[in-house]
């Protein structure tokens, strides 16, 4: 439970930083860094068998993460098929959370 709460707080912070980076536009490196940090964190949480992403994320956090990361990948593209595949998997998980 403590682990989940910490993760949620981390994700909230990363998401707010990502929103700020996108709105401020530049520097691009910051935007990229914050987006990948959130992306990796969500991917790791999503992949762990013991840690269900839907138990950590609220619907609001899920849709906001989806919108921000989708916006990021739309502009910067993917670094290889591996990243693209991971995003497809993650976006399906996120959509399932807020569409349920």
């Amino acid at each position: 439970m403590v682990k989940d709460m910490l993760s949620l707080e981390d994700i909230e912070i990363d998401l707010e930083e990502l929103k700020r980076a996108r709105k401020e536009g530049l520097p691009i490196a910051d935007w990229r860094k914050t987006a990948l940090r959130l992306f990796i964190k969500l991917c790791i949480n999503g992949e762990e068998a013991s840690c269900d992403l839907s138990k950590i994320l609220s619907k609001k956090l899920a849709i906001e993460s989806m919108a921000e990361l989708d916006s990021y990948f739309n502009i910067f593209g993917f670094v290889g098929d591996g990243e693209k595949h991971k995003w497809q998997k993650l976006s399906n998980q996120l959509r399932m959370i807020y569409s349920s």
Partner: protein, 379 residues
């Protein structure tokens, strides 16, 4: 044991609406039903996937304009994939977005949670007045919607009615009934804004009203200063050697104390005929003020006219305060009665009922009409 989780208020902000889009080639397009998600986010309009944002931006803005609500922002997940091969444009998603937004903004979103799967929509929002225009691929969309078991109500633009009617007539296996244009009474359960909320909205509706409100606030601040603190201001301006007192004097003891505190000699204060001055004024049916001057220990006093510019201004301010409030209250009450009249409006629409399948196709011209029909059916 399975646990029933009750929806929280936050969950209810996620509205799902079915939209039909056509994929494939123009000639052999197939309808696809997408469960789009509409979520109010309070920051900016966002679309998922974001590469469709430009295609949907004007649609969202038109829907918001037709609601006269430009402050609320939404995230809309189209449930489309980047590589979806669509043969119609996204504009036909406009009616679904409009219903989703209406549901978010109104009090029927809780009911909508239970029935959303029975409804699907297709129609382009043509302008900021909410006019619904013709869509392409109507037949392919309708076929798909008819085949979907859960869907009971299909909403399509009136401009596609002839096309749809002709298509149904050619179908041999469909038992249908065309319902002539009928009127439904709209019972508006939406809460009208509170009286003070309406007052505030009216008083800040445009730049002139803002200006009038600021003048009103200044007038409200000015009146007590003029009537209760003006003498102190006058005296402050002229220093300790001058004190202005309003006549007639109601409390001579207090006035004498004030003079004493300001350094006026005690032996002369007691000789000032305050009451006689007041009586004299009452006899002559006049009001006024008396200015006391301390000239090196000798008190001089002078009756001065109180009907100066500041007093005239206070009358004007008082009148303005009353007038402004009266106009606002009357306008607010009229607005409320206007809302009541609006509640009794009826909406006309044409429909085709498929008796065997328990499905109804509804033809609509504008967003308001579409929303009213949904509300009528579900509430």
């Amino acid at each position: 044991m399975a646990k029933v989780v009750k929806s929280t208020q936050d969950d209810l902000l996620f509205i799902k609406v079915k939209a039909i889009l056509v994929t494939g080639n123009d000639s052999s397009g197939v309808g696809n039903i997408h469960n789009i998600v509409v979520f109010p986010n309070n920051q900016e309009h966002m679309v998922i996937p974001s590469r469709f944002f430009n295609s949907l931006r004007s649609t969202i803005e038109r829907v918001m304009s037709s609601h006269s609500d430009h402050d609320q922002k939404f995230t809309i997940d189209t449930a489309l994939k980047d590589d979806d091969n669509l043969c119609d444009d996204f504009n036909s998603m406009g009616l679904s977005i409009a219903i989703g937004i209406e549901s978010c903004l109104n009090d029927w979103n809780e009911v909508w949670e239970d029935v959303w799967e029975e409804w699907c929509f297709t129609g382009e929002v043509k302008d900021s007045q909410g006019v619904i225009g013709e869509i392409g691929g109507a037949r392919a969309k309708l076929e798909t919607a008819i085949e979907a078991k859960k869907i009971r109500y299909i909403m399509i633009p009136s401009e596609n009615r002839q096309e749809i009617t002709n298509w149904i007539k050619r179908k041999q296996n469909i038992n249908y009934k065309v319902n002539p244009s009928r009127s439904i009474g709209i019972k508006d359960t939406g809460k009208s804004p509170y009286f003070f909320s309406r007052l505030w909205t009216l008083s800040t509706s445009n730049i002139f009203m803002w200006f009038a409100l600021i003048i009103w606030s200044l007038s409200v601040a000015y009146l007590p200063i003029r009537y209760f603190l003006w003498d102190n201001f006058q005296s402050l301006k002229q220093g300790d050697t001058h004190i202005t007192i309003n006549l007639p004097v109601k409390n001579p003891k207090k006035v004498r104390e004030r003079l004493l505190n300001s350094g006026f000699p005690h032996d002369q204060i007691k000789d000032i005929p305050l009451l006689r001055l007041s009586e004299r004024l009452v006899e002559t049916n006049k009001t006024g003020r008396v200015l006391f001057k301390n000239r090196d220990g000798v008190i001089e006093f002078e009756i001065i006219n109180s009907r100066d510019l500041t007093l005239i201004l206070s009358y004007i301010c008082g009148g303005y305060i009353v007038l402004f409030v009266a106009i606002l209250v009357i306008a607010s009450l009229r607005k409320e009665s206007g809302n009541i009249v609006h509640k009794s409006l009826s909406i006309n629409y044409d429909s085709i009922h498929f008796a065997d399948m328990d499905k109804e196709i509804m033809f609509v011209d504008n967003i308001k009409q579409a929303e009213s029909i949904v509300k009528y059916k579900i509430c």
